[in-house]
Symmetry: C2
Subunit: 154 residues, 2 copies
DNA sequence: TTGAACTGTAGCCACAGTGATTACGGAATG
DNA sequence: CATTCCGTAATCACTGTGGCTACAGTTCAA
């Protein structure tokens, strides 16, 4: 029943926000990122590859290498990330009806059109959110944590 | 990379349209439906179960049993189907970040909120389409086929 | 009343997508 | 150089999905 066991989008968003939250210009290694996201460093590199190719982040090998944002956080909206990782794959699952059946062919066509419509709706939702927004929420949460701690809450 | 190998929504939409397209009140058996959708009859029954429980379709065992619509096609919108099969499962994949990391916790929260927003956008898209619409497209396609055939096109 | 035609489920199997892990080559730094 | 990184391939385990078989229960017709 459960759909989307694919967590690459979530991981990518996490990494981008993490990178945006680093105060000095220091890059973060895949290993450091893997700690925070709780996924394998190799997987981090695999997921971030397309984002690097698209120019959202940079990566450098070597002693003080690692990952860093290539754009201002406010210029990275989540629909870019979605598109890079999801591509144009169907969002709704499509089956493979009997090609002889007219109903099957027609429904297939309708579902494909519908899928594109839904994909557009998703992109529109994600376009409104940038890494900058997420970073602001992190800071706001930090503040809440501090305030709560000051009051003695758990 | 490819998401949603789950084709239950597509199968359900197909079946509903098929049922709506049956002229006389005759019910269709899982076997007949499995031919058109090209999936196993047992799977048909599994997928349609929630739709039956929700009152969208009826099923009857026995000699002239099978499946039939319980509602007028125009009253069945696709977001109902989506909700019944998808439930409230996350549309975006969610990972499981290190609970100690503040960025992880915050991004997690943001992603959950975002997921609900996206789910709403999907539902809104699907709500605009009913089985009636799909059936009309089937008929329209039929007409196109006939016209094309009359002109000698393949 | 018997048998045929259905649904409802449970159980098992195969396939595919996802991600962990290991391994190794190459580049940058000191 | 030796170390620290990335890039990538190869392999493995886990899980979701759906095919398939089997069987119990229900309906209807002869």
């Amino acid at each position: 029943m459960t759909r989307s066991t694919n967590t690459q989008f979530a991981v990518a968003v996490h990494v981008l926000t993490y990178l945006a939250g680093i105060d000095d210009g220091r890059p973060a290694s895949s290993d450091e990122l893997s700690k925070s996201t709780n996924v394998n460093p190799v997987h981090i590199r695999r997921v971030m590859g397309p984002l690097r190719d698209a120019g959202l982040v940079r990566s450098r090998p070597g002693v003080h290498g690692g990952w860093e944002l290539a754009l201002t956080p406010s210029r990275v909206s989540l629909d870019q990330v979605w598109l890079l990782l999801q591509g144009t794959d169907p969002v709704l699952g499509l089956h493979d009806p009997d090609p002889v059946c007219a109903t099957g062919r027609s429904v297939q066509k309708s579902l494909i059109a519908l899928d594109q419509k839904v994909a557009g709706a998703i992109a529109a939702s994600l376009q409104q959110v940038t890494v900058q927004h997420l970073l602001a929420e992190v800071h706001s949460d930090d503040g809440a944590d501090l305030r709560a701690r000051r009051k003695g809450s758990p």
